[in-house]
Assembly symmetry: C2
């Protein structure tokens, strides 16, 4: 079962969860309240997010608080920004490509 950050953020619901948790940590039910889908569905998303380290959980009595560890997004940022010099410019294959090589 592939479980990396890229796959974790591929799902729009999971990106929303990350957005929600950016401001304040929430319990699982607290997260679920913000969505239409069922609580177990959210639970599964959270599980995927914790499996790749994007979300950290702290048990507090019967509640489980979720928070985002944004350091894990670095991997994504690094992958994306390696191509930064290609944006808006025509240094890349697309440049000569569009100009008819």
């Amino acid at each position: 079962m592939r479980r990396d950050v890229f796959q974790a953020i591929a799902d729009p619901t999971r990106r929303e969860i990350i957005g929600l948790l950016a401001n304040k940590s929430l319990t699982l039910n607290g997260v679920a309240e913000n969505f239409e889908i069922s609580r177990p569905a959210i639970s599964k998303h959270i599980k995927i997010l914790t499996e790749c380290g994007l979300v950290i959980i702290k048990q507090q009595g019967r509640e489980r608080f979720c928070a985002v560890d944004f350091n894990r997004l670095k991997e994504v940022a690094e992958w994306v920004t390696q191509y930064h010099r290609f944006w808006n410019e025509k240094l890349d294959a697309l440049g000569s490509f569009l100009e008819g090589e």
Copy 2:
């Protein structure tokens, strides 16, 4: 069928294809030569990449040259960097969270 950039880059083979095409545009067979998997499998990956605008194809006789349009990666970069201020710092939920709120 969801077909956005996040989902497109979720697959490691597709990220490799993007890396390959960053330097020079290649034909479909040219791309396929770099992988173990079959040509139709690569063809499907390319289709997904074109459907979300990450790859552009130019027909040239019987050959189809593929190039990456990196501008589409901006969407990803923007999503990621909105959380940039949270990295290495303890401004976020995780900070107070780990310190026992």
